[in-house]
């Protein structure tokens, strides 16, 4: 699980947010290095498709670039980034490209997942098993309706609390808890069906 996004001050050893506000190239490069991988993993898990995830990541960083002057250097930028990334994914869910990609592909047909594996320290057999497991888990995640998937991804992979998810999803906390519980129940069924 990633570290909690924090609610207060920006980490003192993080990127130079004042520089990002000024769109200073060195600060933008450090900002990109600090957050790109996390944002890419988030949008990939939410969209389940590499091409869409690349498009979404590009949209996220475009919005960051456009809104850089609005950054508050005294605050952690992660909640802002998470908000942008989830909003971008919601736009993608409504789009024709997303619908097309999810009617033409089954969850068993997820090219690219295998190449995402971090194989350090595993033998070929371990790699294969881990790849298969990742594929099945991602398949079960993709089988959830997007609003349920969003809650699971934000909670389990981004480590957000219910109140933080509620702020991002525009819901109240009770509704988020309900969605999370329903999502886990559905995930459980899909994982069982997949033999996990």
């Amino acid at each position: 699980m990633n570290s909690s996004p924090g609610q207060g001050d920006a980490a003192s050893d993080g990127p130079d947010l004042e520089g990002v506000r000024r769109r200073d190239p060195a600060a933008l490069a450090a900002f990109f290095e600090a957050y790109f991988d996390r944002m890419f993993a988030l949008v990939y898990r939410l969209l389940g498709d590499r091409t869409l995830a690349e498009d979404a990541a590009q949209e996220v960083f475009l919005k960051v670039h456009r809104g850089a002057h609005l950054l508050d250097p005294s605050r952690d930028p992660v909640p802002w980034l998470l908000m942008i990334a989830t909003n971008v994914c919601r736009d993608f869910w409504r789009s024709g490209a997303y619908r097309l990609s999810h009617t033409s592909l089954s969850i068993d047909d997820s090219p690219g997942l295998r190449e995402t594996l971090h194989s350090a320290g595993r033998g070929p057999e371990g790699d294969t098993l881990a790849a298969e497991r990742t594929r099945l888990v991602q398949g079960a995640l993709l089988a959830l309706r997007p609003p349920l998937r969003e809650v699971v991804v934000l909670r389990e992979y981004e480590g957000l609390g219910y109140d933080q998810i509620a702020a991002i999803a525009g819901l109240n906390e009770a509704a988020v808890r309900k969605r999370y519980s329903r999502a886990l129940a559905e995930m459980g069924k899909h994982l069982k069906k997949a033999g996990l």
Binding site: S4, R23, P25, A29, F32, E33, F36, D37, F40, A41, T51, L52, A53, E54, D55, Q58, L62, K63, V64, H65, R66, G67, L70, L71, D72, P79, W80, M83, I84, N87, V88, R90, D91, R94, S95, G96, A97, S101, T116, L117, H118, A130, R133, T134, V137, Q138, A140, L141, V152, E156, Y157, Y162, D163, Q164, G170, E173, L184, M187, G188, L191
Partner: protein
Amino acid sequence: MNERPDEQPNEEEARIKRALLEASPPSAQSSFRERLKDSFVSGAIEVSGTAEARGRARRKASPIRGLSRRGRAPVWIAAAAAAAAILTIVVGTLNQGQKWMVTGVRGEGTVLVDGQPVSLTDRTALNQVLVPGAEVKIPDGVEIDLVTGGAMALQLTRRTELTLPPPPPRWINRRAEIHVRYGDIRVTTGPDFHGSHLEIVTPDADVDVTGTTFAVIVQTNGTCVCVLEGTAKVGRIVAGVPTDMQPVPGGRLRFVWKGNRPPSYDHMRDMERAKLAEFRDAQRPWLEGAPTHE
């Protein structure tokens, strides 16, 4: 985190959480990562960002992608496809409607755009951030008027939360869609809207219009659609699908209740009628040829 002290996952939930966390994190291909980093750092992303993304989405949907990947397509097919893609992008770019422009601001303080406060007195900053896809939250006591060319004017009022839509395209696929999560918005269409189609989606209701002046008021107990002139089709959203779309003529309202209660019809309240008329009249000069800042 805001865990309840007694909140412990049961055995089944713990198993699912373990499975999720054991899945390897997806990572981007290094070539894409480097390309995006370069364009982000240099600022080129501002120019190429959205158009490139759309272009790639279109390529993904095209069967030509599969052919070229296998290297089986003759060169002339690839060239024709490239020309078609360029033409599509050029036409797509030209087809885009005019940008949103702020024509009026009432109230004091800030408005939240993509989670960041923007001063209401800084009209330049507002115009920079109020772009399609922006998530906007309007505080109490604030109203913002926006116009896109001669097509449509939008008034965002008290506690409105919405995603700002792309303006209706100029010639092809002339559709626009606004997602309103909460609050009041007023919409009036101009001469350039002719032939376009606007859909407004709220948590409870779907509004379908082809040219009119109306208000959409999203409350905790449902959505009220008040039509000043023209006709709007209003229905309820059931399981994400608009149903029971009924015409609402000028001077009437339809309230779509949350839950199973059937929608109500009524005459429009005088106060909303006056506000809509005032909004329409104030935006008319902008919609009928006032110079824009394009």
